[in-house]
């Protein structure tokens, strides 16, 4: 850990970043706050409405539904991706020519535009010509993700696992490769079991990167929009309409500005709260 000196002039180095992020974050956020407390009947004419939109959003079953589905989705993919990612990272070779090949192949899904990921899985899961859909039906499952909510959910989750597990693998692998060989040799001399090596050497070394993985996966899955939207369009019915999909539907599809803005603010506050909790935990880990 580097010791830092106090220097207020450092602010000048930060100014450009502050300016560009403030332009993109503060002005739009103020616009949203504005909309969330006003109503309009014709362009340019606004009325102050106080907390009307917030009360309406908080009591609407539609918002509760989207929020519930969002938490369920995020919970399920975290429960699958984190353990699976750690397992794959532990199974990877530490040295040799295969490491680069594995890493490049694994990183590939992360670099595909999100709507292409949706389109790709759309094609992959079609019941009549897609490998997944055709295969499942051939095996005797009645599978059609455009009509069955359960099939749609399973496909959206499988797609997310396909898309993002590699991020966890790469992070966990980075943590593992920072462990010196001497640790393993010492464990071998002591006759430690594979589980003990995992529990007392590998897991503590991975803790920091796993917190980053958890933070990134929580946040990105919490604001997921493009992939499920392209794959299922939020359907069948509302069954895969997550928070972002519902928000864009209200803002751009129905042009319900007040409702959409109030939803945005609530949504933003939730992510901010979770982000702050993770950040505090992470910084405590870095300082100790």
């Amino acid at each position: 850990m580097i010791t830092k000196t106090v220097n207020q002039k450092a602010w000048f180095l930060v100014l450009p970043v502050l300016f560009i992020v403030a332009l993109n974050a503060i002005i739009p956020l103020m616009t949203v706050v504005n909309y969330s407390v006003q109503d309009t009947f014709s362009p340019g004419v606004f009325f102050f409405e106080g907390t009307k939109w917030y009360r309406e959003v908080l009591s609407s079953p539609r918002f509760h539904g989207a929020l519930g589905r969002q938490f369920m989705f995020t919970g399920i993919i975290l429960l699958i991706e984190i353990p699976l990612g750690v397992a794959v990272a532990l199974a990877m070779p530490r040295k040799g020519p295969w490491v680069s090949v594995c890493l490049v192949l694994m990183a590939l899904p992360l670099l595909i535009p999100w709507n292409v990921v949706g389109a790709m899985w759309n094609i992959f899961a079609l019941p009549d010509i897609g490998l997944l859909g055709y295969g499942l039906n051939w095996l005797g499952f009645d599978y059609n993700y455009t009509q069955q909510p359960f099939a749609a959910w399973a496909t959206v989750i499988l797609m997310d696992v396909w898309h993002w597990t590699s991020l966890v693998v790469l992070l966990a692998y980075a943590g593992l490769s920072s462990i010196p060989d001497a640790y393993y040799q010492a464990a071998k001399i002591d006759g430690a079991s594979a589980f003990a090596v995992f529990r007392y050497i590998q897991l503590p070394k991975m803790k920091r990167v796993l917190i980053i993985a958890l933070l990134l996966r929580f946040m990105d899955s919490f604001m997921v929009y493009t992939e499920p939207f392209v794959l299922t369009g939020g359907g069948p019915g509302n069954s895969t309409t997550f928070l972002s999909i519902d928000l864009v539907k209200a803002a751009i599809g129905e042009f319900n500005l007040g409702i959409a803005a109030a939803m945005s603010i609530l949504y933003f506050l939730m992510t901010l709260l979770v982000c702050w909790v993770f950040y505090t935990v992470m910084m405590r880990g870095e300082e100790s």
Partner: protein
């Protein structure tokens, strides 16, 4: 035990490759064959879909537009983040921790929240439907990320390097460009890679901040899917082509990718 491990990695990579194979498979089929039913590989191999994309300007200009805002964003993000990351890694100043958290919180803000205000903001700035608008909008999440990654890499460089340079009489800009930047070259590469990646894969903002002149490939694809009927072969070929820039940049940073994904914090 070793066998089980190799099998797990093999199955995982196979699982990753199957949908990609299927996309390539579809892109080489004729429309008739696609609608004709299931087949493991193209029976009548054709490059017709790719030919359409490379000869029709609405298609290929989509790739040019996308690449131009992605490159602009990468240059802006990295060059603004470099001095800021240095400040965070070397100095304490009033409000530094709060500022760092605030920056980070923007990386975590859902783009869906910002779509509508962004359209208004960039229309007011007369930038709507230009690549620059998308490049600046993507700074919302790429600049904080760049600061975060670079700060991690810079903290790995001992302070003595800075102090020695100052004693030797280097000015700050001279020291930064001549001595410090070469030391963290890998970190700069990894940062550029991440900015490229997150700008390249984003669709919601890119699509809504453009209409005709600067339409990115991701938006061209959604329109084809909805208006021109079911041109799956064309859609698959367009998708397959979007994989290429990713493969190229990943090859450049393959040695640093693991550390890069850990944001320089291992």
């Amino acid at each position: 035990m070793r066998g089980v491990k190799i099998l797990l990695v093999f199955i995982y990579i196979l699982f990753l490759m199957l949908p990609i194979y299927w996309l390539l498979n579809m892109s080489f089929k004729t429309t008739n064959e696609i609608l004709g039913g299931f087949s493991w590989y193209p029976q009548e191999f054709t490059l017709a879909s790719y030919k359409t994309i490379f000869t029709d300007s609405t298609w290929y200009s989509g790739y040019i537009n996308s690449l131009s805002y992605v490159l602009m964003n990468t240059v802006i993000s990295v060059s603004l983040a470099l001095p800021a990351a240095y400040a965070f890694s070397r100095y304490r100043f009033l409000g530094d921790k709060h500022l760092f958290f605030w920056l980070l919180s923007n990386r975590m803000a859902p783009p869906a929240v910002f779509v509508l205000p962004f359209v208004e903001l960039y229309s007011a700035m007369q930038l709507f439907d230009t690549p620059l608008a998308v490049a600046l909008a993507h700074c919302l999440f790429n600049v904080p990320l760049a600061v975060w990654i670079l700060e991690g890499f810079m903290s790995g460089v001992p302070r003595e390097v800075d102090e020695t340079a100052y004693i030797d009489g280097y000015s700050f800009p001279h020291f930064f460009v001549k001595i410090f930047m070469p030391l963290i070259a890998a970190g700069i590469g990894v940062t550029a890679f991440f900015c490229f990646m997150f700008s390249w894969v984003e669709m919601l903002l890119a699509k809504n901040l453009t209409s005709v002149a600067a339409k990115p490939i991701v938006a061209v694809m959604t329109r084809t899917a909805s208006t021109a009927g079911y041109e799956l072969g064309l859609l698959a070929a367009a998708g397959a082509l979007t994989l290429i820039p990713g493969v190229i940049v990943i090859w450049f940073v393959r040695k640093h990718i693991a550390k890069g994904f850990a944001l320089g914090r291992v």
